[in-house]
Symmetry: C3
Subunit: 421 residues, 3 copies
Amino acid sequence: MTDVTEQLLKDTQEHVDEEKRRVEKMGNRPWQPWIDAEWGFRNHWYPALISRDMPEGSHKAVQLLGEDILVTRQNGSVRAIEDRCPHRGIRFSSRPLFYTKETITCWYHTWTFDLDDGSLRTILSSPDSKVIGKCGVKTYPLVETKGVIFIFVGDIDPPPLEYDLAPGFLDEDAVVYCSDPYDIASNWRLGCENGYDPGHQFIHNWSEMCINAGMHTSYGYTSSKKEVLDTTRYTEEECGPKGFTRKVEKTTFNHTAEIPLKDGSVQQLMLPLARGKSDEELSALTDIIRLGTVGLWMPCSLKVTTFPVPHCTHYEFYVPKNNKEHTYFQFGVIHTQDSEEAERWLGEDGRVMWEVPAVKGFTVDDAFARAEMQKFYESEDGWLRERLFQPDVELTMWRKFASKHARGIQTEDHVKGYFSR
Amino acid sequence: MTDVTEQLLKDTQEHVDEEKRRVEKMGNRPWQPWIDAEWGFRNHWYPALISRDMPEGSHKAVQLLGEDILVTRQNGSVRAIEDRCPHRGIRFSSRPLFYTKETITCWYHTWTFDLDDGSLRTILSSPDSKVIGKCGVKTYPLVETKGVIFIFVGDIDPPPLEYDLAPGFLDEDAVVYCSDPYDIASNWRLGCENGYDPGHQFIHNWSEMCINAGMHTSYGYTSSKKEVLDTTRYTEEECGPKGFTRKVEKTTFNHTAEIPLKDGSVQQLMLPLARGKSDEELSALTDIIRLGTVGLWMPCSLKVTTFPVPHCTHYEFYVPKNNKEHTYFQFGVIHTQDSEEAERWLGEDGRVMWEVPAVKGFTVDDAFARAEMQKFYESEDGWLRERLFQPDVELTMWRKFASKHARGIQTEDHVKGYFSR
Amino acid sequence: MTDVTEQLLKDTQEHVDEEKRRVEKMGNRPWQPWIDAEWGFRNHWYPALISRDMPEGSHKAVQLLGEDILVTRQNGSVRAIEDRCPHRGIRFSSRPLFYTKETITCWYHTWTFDLDDGSLRTILSSPDSKVIGKCGVKTYPLVETKGVIFIFVGDIDPPPLEYDLAPGFLDEDAVVYCSDPYDIASNWRLGCENGYDPGHQFIHNWSEMCINAGMHTSYGYTSSKKEVLDTTRYTEEECGPKGFTRKVEKTTFNHTAEIPLKDGSVQQLMLPLARGKSDEELSALTDIIRLGTVGLWMPCSLKVTTFPVPHCTHYEFYVPKNNKEHTYFQFGVIHTQDSEEAERWLGEDGRVMWEVPAVKGFTVDDAFARAEMQKFYESEDGWLRERLFQPDVELTMWRKFASKHARGIQTEDHVKGYFSR
Ligand code: FES
Ligand code: FES
Ligand code: FES
Ligand SMILES: [Fe+2]
Ligand SMILES: [Fe+2]
Ligand SMILES: [Fe+2]
């Protein structure tokens, strides 16, 4: 290289180095545990399966926080055990053998485990082996309720399930319509952040539900600092769920915007579905949103009230499957003591009033947005290089909140089984 | 995080660290060379191709221990050379040019190599180049016999082929029926271990051969320590094959088993095909197995006598293709001086008496089992984390034996060509 | 292992280590910048798109030197900006929003950027945000000419486009026929080297153009050292394109060759299409090649005159897409003042006289050859382990020349955006 080009190269390198130093210095963010929690928060409850997908005698292999788990229903009750034989690592789930309702037998060398505590109860070919009783697989605490199977991933005595659920879900009169969960190629944290993010509302201008309803949504919700403080309520009693909630009433929905042009003029913009409508008509269309609240709850869920219809509450979970995917669980909940109304909700009503509009017509756009963020956050040091702006304070509030209330952080060592899962 | 959760995290981490230290301490196992031999044992003979797949003038690219090799038959004789031009790395096999029976010419810049010693004999475009005679590719010692092409991968003067083959295969009166080799997504060592593993017999309850024969197989073969010692014979004369053999006669085949239940009762189990048969009938069905022997032989093969019919010996090889796959070679062998019987064996008889039952109906289940073990051994430190039990002593005998008799260990450096292959 | 095998292992390892030391010592080659330039040369112009693929209002995502770039045409003029929102990394191109001709709006949170300088002009939902004006994306200098969109990737003030183009391309009377670019799974440097490499001509014996023309090509072009010096002309004035050119007139085309055999005899070879032709006929067929010149030009292009017909000049570019792929751009150029001839060239004539023979019938074989070299250069330390011979001096001349004239080297840090692209 010529002297000139060498100098150029050197100069460039200096800038690169400087930038890297700048970023590294910022490395220890106030929400560092959130940045570290690539594989999820350990010692929490997560939805794992829908009850209707687990009839008597069935089994399913699932992955939670990178851990392979086998779930089965025997004699009516559901159990979850590590899907990995301690002997030589075989996955039980590839040929599961339930010779009794109490046990699972490994299809390779007949080690037979207790479904309740995971202990090695016997070996069919070697009933006198000394290893019997001294060995086992991890079993996972499990609660089945409201048509959902929840699993606790961790090492500690599990706190009550309700500590890890947004309020209302477990109410006696809550009637829960479960949609089919699906996997998204995006880290679970991007799920939490997208769901609550007030600015992301703009993407719902592409949502079928809004378009079909003639609803103009917005260019993004905005709130002043004062409004955020006024309308956000923290829930962090020691014995109970942890989360926070924004009342939407004070949020501003912008349906107009403008772009200043070089010639000094301004390009006025208006959302297509807002055009030609009076202010009253526009308010009427968004009033239902104003009634509602949106909340984030530990470890990874969102609760939206009065959505998509006034009497329905929407719950969704971004369950860490591994470090690159999450499983998206969504539930439409009403509260009623009327058993006929409950039955109707679990049938046609839930489908028509919640599942089709909310799941098929609205949150699919969120799923798209989360997957689109993955490259930057996964391969381009996004957690360190993002450039946040004022409205993102509602996200950093969550990051700090979650960092504070997390009961632990899942690591790759846990995934590999270094700590017996 | 709160103080409580920080304490929890710290405690968990300590357990993880402790477990890692425990495993690392055990790192240096008595069979460490076996653990290191991910890419195979260097300086050994391996079956590479079946003769019938190599007619005059043909060529095939194969991979052995991660090395790319081109095999061709010219003037009747088969040669094997490094499939990588020293000039700029081109694979000859993507457009092989045999302008003479003695040479191969690289299709990129016409470097022309001697098929016998690999030396650069000429360059078509530059016959006066100084590099001619000073450069070459590796050639691989090769023996073609019994319809099989064996290749020696290593650096030393190859010992006789028979040192790396189970006895009998090369006998003058051995008639060898070769099935089509295929690749399995599993490390080669899992092949060796699965094949000999007495406990693995349980998986053959899923084998078509057993089911169609009404044979009840077992919950796994078992032997006392005394029986193992009594029936295992080592072969390790300096000049000859290295291996060991178990006579099956003293092995116990369990066709019943039981699982103790929580209420103190016991669930009795019996293999479906054993039900309703008298002891005599059951013995009759397994007597043929008792006649036999099973042996493991350096570097990576299994020999089973009287299988699947009394006069047939089954040989199989788990040839390291690379560190994640092996190529499965299987041979059905009879001994006869009668040329008509030999001919029948190589035609219909071998197919009906050996290939269909043994290859299509039995060892496919072994192939499945090996691939199922791969995740644990490859990604979850299985070689350090497995939890062996008493019957596995027959495997650790092999691990130590192989560690002792291996002539070398293949490394990734060899694969990349750092030592001219 | 026995003592013997341990000794063997040790000896082998010593050879491996020795070879590695040898290679490492050679690590710092005279053309080290070339070896380091896996991702391309920074601070240069590259063809990025063909104008006809970019009608008014359209947009395309391209990758250059690993950088994701969005190109759009607005109000007739083409702009190129970083395809990555500084806010949270979203790719604009997955849902590009051009609400004005001057701007692009991110579909996630409405950050709106100036297409000219990349600055954040406004945020639709937060027009008062403090981040406006303090943030932006990289914009790429761009020149559209001769039906091609060229983009400058780097940090410095871009020198004139003509400094990075082989002479003639931008001439006023140059008429440029553009074929469709395509991606090749090969590092861009292998493109440069293959294109100029005199020995590679042998591969064109497989080219349809040669076979259909009855042209016998050669076993590889050869030249003595004196002929190389005599016929190579360097162009390296500070203000202008950098490159060098070989006149083909003194090149020898070998259409016969021989292979010495072990028995002392010699196998004579002659290219099939040369057989039965007189010397005059053979000369006539290759005379057109002798008229021509072949040149390599910074940063990554080849210029061939009188190819495939006397009045046509062939230009091609191996544009680094990322470190494992390049995009292959090819152009057939004539010089004429006659507007009717120009029009004919851009229509039928260019297709029949240049595109079908050269692009479809000839350079596809180069594309094949480059992809075939990739494994060795990418995974087997090819840049250090290749074994060059005398004719390759024409390649090392280029490697040194390019190392000298490169304005910078692209690094993975640039790709990740550590230096704002
Ligand atoms: S791997 Fe499960 S019993 Fe052996
Ligand atoms: S790569 Fe084989 S001769 Fe050049
Ligand atoms: S990611 Fe582009 S505006 Fe937020
Ligand atoms: Fe949303
Ligand atoms: Fe088997
Ligand atoms: Fe070429």
